[in-house]
Symmetry: C2
Subunit: 296 residues, 2 copies
């Protein structure tokens, strides 16, 4: 990573963490324990991959950071909400997340469920209350993000994931599961940027549409590989949680080698797509490689 | 109830049930079990009090039904989402709702949590995707509704409710709990109507703001009275669930008589407020009396 790219990425990380922290400041109106659980669930050292995708895609289309803050915040809140519910005893029953007790372990189940519920609400509320984007942009974002998050996206994917436990499913079904559970919100991160752009051409839109789906799929396969190849110390998560839950994952069904090969193929496609943006895609190029090669 | 009012209320009930049913039709994109659990959670004979409030308040301000459909649907989805999570074993642990098994009893905990999550997402998505209201109206609705639903409203209230179990709390705290847990979404139902109105005066706005809070509080006190005074056959809910959970309720803290008296006082205030709308408030007058005198 060049010094310039490193500075850019670090800047965006600090930026989004400050924004998240400020939107979750304790207020006299909210219940303190719930607020604490909300803060704990989001401000726990997350990698902020979706916000970084949004900021670096935004650079490709020359969009102001202030506008990108809106989907970056909303989508990270939604991602955090989904992790808290996925970790619950009735779902993946995980006790570690980012090296710390999961929200229901740190607090209790009821508080975890409610904190995540409130994070979802806040995600949509912050878009509506933004002072920097137009009403048309707000409505467009909420439409894109709600589709990615609901029964036809992330939440539907988690439902399929739970139903697939212990089952041998085919490539098409597994791809659908990944596309919904993880891919949809990552894809929405990319596409939300177009919703804020003043100008772009069809080629850019179509290419980034493909990019969004492929990087989402590669991200999930990489995630499943990390879980079986790295230790809990490195990942900060329960080791072999998927194995314990008999989850349908890419390496479990197609093996490690095929999964690594497919990740590599998807990475190459993604990097090729980005040529259209020349130098403006430097930070996004770094992020793409990081996402697909990361160890945790 | 006059024949005309009865017809009006019946019409709105059929209308909102059809709208809810059509937005939850199974689609090829959604996972069938999740969709079924979502439909089960909403289409189970609910009283549709919030939609009825919206439609009948809308009559007072001469707003088209087609526009009122938007908050009516969204707020009913949010109300249903909250009931499913409130019924969970880690919260109120209820097994009956509207005379039927609660969603987690009918399906399982994970499915119930996810179905409710998806209902919340859908509530915001349907506003964004509406074809009949302007972007400004959409953003206004999402702002009002998200505040009423999140950490400073309904979800925060449920958190306080759980923390208050077994505690003797004062009138001010109990009123805050009720205002957040139940009052906020009922108040938002009333205020969402102003967001869709072309014209209204300050007096109407201020009066209905008071009306919204008072009817919300009366509704909750009545709910708590019903639970201790009526049988499970009549209410369709677990009998004495509040007692079992040692909940802070108005009758538990101030006694039955004081609670009945306070309900009556709130009803009188509400009915007085409605004089400003003359005959246009007939259906809302009936609804107000029904809400505060109902047996289930």
């Amino acid at each position: 990573m060049s010094d310039k790219t490193k500075k850019t990425i670090d800047y965006y990380l600090i930026r989004i963490n400050q924004i998240i922290s400020s939107v979750l400041l304790p207020s006299s109106k909210s219940e303190p324990l719930l607020n604490e659980a909300m803060r704990y669930s989001v401000l726990n050292g997350g990698k902020r991959i979706r916000p970084l995708l949004i900021y670096t895609c935004g650079e490709c289309l020359n969009i102001k950071k202030e506008k990108l803050d809106v989907p970056a915040l909303s989508i990270e809140l939604l991602h955090s909400f989904s992790l808290v519910h996925d970790d619950l005893p009735s779902m993946d029953d995980d006790s570690l997340r980012r090296g710390m007790p999961t929200t229901h372990k740190k607090f209790n189940e009821a508080t975890a469920i409610l904190a995540a519920d409130a994070l979802q609400t806040l995600a949509f509320g912050t878009i509506a209350d933004s002072q920097v984007i137009t009403n048309q942009e707000k409505v467009g974002l909420i439409s894109i993000i709600s589709k990615a998050c609901g029964a036809e996206g992330m939440t539907g994917g988690q439902s399929i994931d739970l139903l697939s436990q212990g089952k041998k499913i085919g490539k098409k079904e597994l791809q659908k599961l990944h596309t919904m559970k993880t891919g949809a919100l990552i894809h929405a991160s990319v596409m939300s940027v177009f919703n804020l752009a003043n100008t772009y051409n069809d080629e850019e839109y179509n290419i980034m549409n493909e990019f969004g789906w492929k990087i989402g799929l590669a991200f999930q396969i990489r995630d499943d590989l990390i879980e079986i190849e790295e230790t809990s110390e490195i990942t900060g998560k329960d080791n072999n949680s998927d194995l314990k839950n008999n989850k349908a994952t890419w390496p479990a069904i197609f093996g490690k080698k095929a999964s690594h090969d497919y990740c590599k193929e998807l990475l190459e496609d993604c990097m090729n797509y980005l040529q259209i943006f020349n130098n403006k895609a430097e930070p996004l190029r770094w992020l793409t490689q990081y996402l697909i090669n990361r160890k945790h």
